[in-house]
């Protein structure tokens, strides 16, 4: 492949155009259009100048930062458990920690209201981290399982305490994955909507809930535009902090295959970490168990009703059809997101391996993350004023569901793949090349085996996010294409005992479908991924 001096080949440029083009059409254009409409109405400056706005910013960033810290603290022990130990049943742990991610926010919100009746900031932070522990655990585990443990062992035999060995040897090695995960979690928490609304009431408001109210209920587009700009600025600032943190830490690690690093925990400290990890897993499962128990409140009545079309026509699909609809939409979205995310990651890592200026790579990286940090309502209303110009008028089409979901899943895929790809020792690739391997061959023999597990994790995550996605789906799904989360919300919004039992039965079905789908993705993937 002919390379220019910058390391940018024409082929790579072409590959880069695919994810960037998707982002331009389905994100940048709609957001710019709706914000411009807001500016047309005037009054943006007044909102920017109001003290109320800055209070919103402070609370949004504050609760997101607190939730992120908590999710990282809870997620790292679980990552250790998954990556460095070889206990029985880990496959199950790997799958079940993803379950919180898929639960409808209204159900989680109601569950946390029961646990903490006074609600407030603590409840919001706990609920947000509940959703996101898995992001940290799985992203960090993806890298950790390839980190050579001998450096830490050497530090220990030179007299370092376990804590010292962890903080000065292991932690720096994990930094790329940690910052990646933290960035994603921060964005998820900063834009979390349902739980903040339910647990915060009118006392605790965030930029996201306020943008929703102004856009959807008040059609105050200028106010919403102002807040969207503030949100965008806050997100870019947070991402830049992450980029700077990565800059200091970035280094190629000596990544190894998984089997050689996982072992039975030895010593008190190891078991203590394992104990903490199991404690986190149990806590994550408590709300899940509670809602499953609730679904049996009336015996099997909820399940029987779900097998049909619901109580007095509450649903136009049976529970099974809703499950099938969920799987279909999630499959489309995941396939698209993994495709786009892989292309973007390959481009980003190739650019940084070439002699492209670091700023360019980092800017592209940040831009690709933005869909996670911008309000879904802003994007959705943006679609209304732009997409009718495309052939086929996608504005209210169900075909938009997987596209909108892919917008959210793609950044996640990138954040899971990139740290691993970046950490691959370039000398390994140079060696392969000097032995005569073509660039394709180098990718296949060096990068794919190491990143395979992370790609798998990303696929599973994409699936889970898409399965649980509610905002875009509830807007765009037709009554006969309702997914399970949409069905749950619909049932909970109607009076009557049976509707409630059905809602929880549908939730349980969603949990089962999630576990089955993720287990399938992982087992198919595992047999394909060649590990060395």
């Amino acid at each position: 492949m002919a390379r220019t001096r910058t390391g940018l080949s024409p082929g790579l440029l072409l590959v880069a155009l695919v994810p960037l083009g998707f982002l331009a059409v389905f994100f940048v254009w709609p957001v710019v259009a709706i914000v411009r409409l807001g500016f047309g109405e005037g009054g943006v400056l007044a909102v920017l100048g109001s003290a109320d706005t800055w209070q919103l910013v402070a609370f949004t960033v504050g609760q997101a930062a607190a939730s992120t810290v908590l999710a990282v603290l809870a997620g790292v022990p679980v990552a250790y458990l998954l990556a460095r130990t070889s206990l029985p049943g880990l496959g199950l742990v790997r799958v079940v920690i993803l379950v919180p991610f898929v639960l409808p926010t209204v159900v989680v919100g109601l569950a946390f209201r029961t646990l903490l009746p006074d609600g407030g900031v603590l409840a919001i932070v706990l609920a947000n981290s509940f959703f996101n522990v898995a992001v940290v655990a799985r992203t960090v585990a993806g890298l950790w399982s390839h980190v050579d443990g001998r450096a830490a062992d050497a530090a220990r035999s030179l007299g370092a305490s376990p804590l010292r060995a962890f903080t000065s040897v292991t932690l720096p090695a994990l930094a790329p994955a940690l910052t990646s995960a933290a960035a994603v979690v921060f964005l998820f928490c900063a834009t979390s909507f349902g739980v903040v609304l339910i647990l915060g009431g009118s006392r605790y408001r965030t930029l996201e809930t306020e943008i929703y109210l102004r856009t959807v209920e008040l059609l105050d587009l200028s106010g919403a535009a102002a807040l969207s700009l503030v949100q965008l600025a806050a997100v870019v600032a947070a991402l830049s902090v992450g980029v700077l943190a990565r800059r200091r830490r970035e280094s190629a690690l000596r990544l190894r295959g998984r089997a050689s690093v996982a072992r039975r925990p030895r010593g008190g400290q190891s078991w203590a970490v394992v104990g903490a990890a199991l404690g986190v897993v149990v806590l994550l499962l408590v709300p899940v168990v509670v809602l499953v128990a609730r679904s049996f409140d009336g015996g099997f009545a909820g399940y029987r009703a779900l097998a049909g079309f619901g109580h007095e026509g509450s649903l136009q699909v049976s529970g099974w059809e809703a499950a099938a609809n969920s799987l279909r939409a999630a499959t489309d979205a995941t396939a698209l997101a993994v495709f786009l995310g892989t292309l973007a990651s390959v481009v980003l890592v190739s650019l940084s391996r070439g002699r492209v200026r670091r700023g360019v790579v980092e800017t592209m990286d940040t831009v690709l993350m933005l869909p996670l940090g911008v309000s879904a309502v802003t994007v959705g209303f943006g679609y209304l004023v732009t997409l009718d110009l495309l052939p086929g008028d996608l504005r209210t089409s169900p075909a938009l569901v997987p596209l909108a979901q892919a917008l959210v899943v793609t950044p996640l895929v990138i954040r899971m793949l990139l740290p691993v790809l970046r950490s691959i020792d370039t000398r390994l690739r140079q060696a392969a090349a000097s032995l005569g391997a073509s660039p394709w061959r180098v990718w296949r023999e060096v990068d794919v085996p190491v990143a395979g597990r992370s790609l798998l994790t990303a696929t599973a995550f994409g699936y889970v996010v898409a399965l649980g996605e509610f905002g875009a789906t509830s807007f765009l799904a037709r009554p006969d294409t309702a997914t399970l989360p949409v069905a749950v919300a619909r049932l909970l919004s109607r009076p009557g005992e049976l509707n409630n039992q059905m809602a929880y039965a549908a939730c349980t079905l969603l949990v089962l479908v999630t576990v089955a789908a993720v287990a399938l993705v992982e087992s198919v993937g595992r047999s394909r991924v060649v590990e060395f």
Binding site: Y204, L213, E217, E312, G313, Q316, F381, A399, L492, E497
Partner: protein
């Protein structure tokens, strides 16, 4: 090479978008896109019968709650997302009329009762159903605490009902807003003192109907702690014991009238058929299903309510009402004032 192949496979499967889309676009099919709110529901049999009789397929698209629906119609008025809209309610009707989203059409069936709720001289909106918001009570829980059942707005501020009422935030919930409007319509400028008094009696404010009704209210399956809740006149129809007796009750002097309207969208691709669908929304077949499908009351006066409804959830006779134009003019200011008065 393999990657290229993979890419090709993915792209083809995407352009087909086989799985989720599945648009059965047959040639010459008559299709009306009905945009509506989340609560829309209708039995397949009724929709199928209409298709067979008229040759028109109704393509239902839900666009969120009544507010979200109206605002999306306003935003897309130059190129509407459907042919017909159903679900714009009293609170948002004025905005839709001001922005001229709908075009005039007087359905022949409107004379069967719908016209009672007419708000526009040029017939751009037609009333389809009525969904009043009322205070609901749990009589058994009140009896257990030895307090009489409240019968009016004023009763709720009495000491006997300390810490018993749960309401929804008018900024985030449509029944919450309706209840606030009801207090303003009934009490005039006294509404602020009234809410101060409610606050003194420990009124609880939550952000949505789900939390208020299914979690805090003692009369629902959630068996919460509070026996008085803001919900709908129709809610008691869903809370009926096995022997058929209702277990909750709506306080009929605390109701606010919410009418839901339908209208043909200006610039609709298929105006003629959209009118036919609007006629269908007012047909006895559709109207008689409205209570059990959507928990609202038919706009037609010659359609009987289901039996359980007649006992448990009759239509309020003299609810508070307010002119949609007045609501549109003051809504934001009232909500802001309310937020300053009542802590979340």
């Amino acid at each position: 090479m393999r990657k290229v192949l993979l890419g090709v496979v993915l792209v083809t499967s995407l352009t087909a978008c086989t799985l989720s889309a599945g648009e059965p676009e047959e040639n010459g099919e008559r299709r009306v896109v009905l945009v509506t709110h989340d609560s829309f529901a209708m039995s397949e049999e009724v929709l199928d019968a209409f298709r067979e009789e008229s040759g028109i397929t109704i393509d239902v698209r839900k666009l969120g709650d009544a507010g979200a629906l109206t605002n999306q119609l306003v935003l897309t008025k130059d190129n509407p997302v459907g042919d017909l809209a159903y679900g714009v309610d009293t609170t948002f009707a004025s905005r839709a009329l001001e922005e001229d989203v709908f075009e005039p059409y007087r359905s022949p069936a409107a004379d069967e009762g719908s016209q009672r709720y007419a708000i526009d001289d040029t017939n751009r909106l037609t009333a389809v159903d009525v969904g009043d918001v009322c205070v609901n009570i749990d009589p058994a829980a009140l009896a257990a605490r030895n307090v009489p059942e409240p019968a009016s707005y004023a009763d709720l501020t009495k000491a006997a009902y300390e810490n018993m009422l749960v309401v929804e935030d008018p900024a985030t919930s449509s029944p919450g807003l309706a209840f606030l409007l009801g207090t303003i319509a009934s009490l005039g400028d006294g509404w602020r003192e009234y809410w101060m008094a409610l606050r003194g009696r420990g009124v609880q404010v939550v952000s949505g109907w789900e939390e208020a009704y299914t979690q805090e209210f003692s009369g629902s399956s959630g068996e919460g702690p509070r026996p008085i809740v803001v919900s709908y006149a129709s809610s008691p129809a869903a809370e009926v014991a096995e022997d058929g007796t209702p277990t909750t009750k709506a306080v009929l002097d605390t109701c606010f009238r919410q009418v839901e309207y339908a209208g043909v969208l200006r610039g609709a691709a298929n105006t003629e058929d959209a009118r036919a669908v609007l006629d269908f929304l007012l047909s006895p077949e559709f109207q008689s299903q409205v209570p059990e499908q959507m928990y609202v009351y038919p706009a037609r006066s010659d359609v009987e309510l289901p039996e359980t409804w007649q006992a448990a959830a009759p239509l309020p006779e003299s609810p508070a009402e307010m002119d949609p134009a007045k609501i549109a003019e003051n809504r934001e200011r009232w909500i802001d004032e309310w937020r300053a008065l009542v802590p979340g």
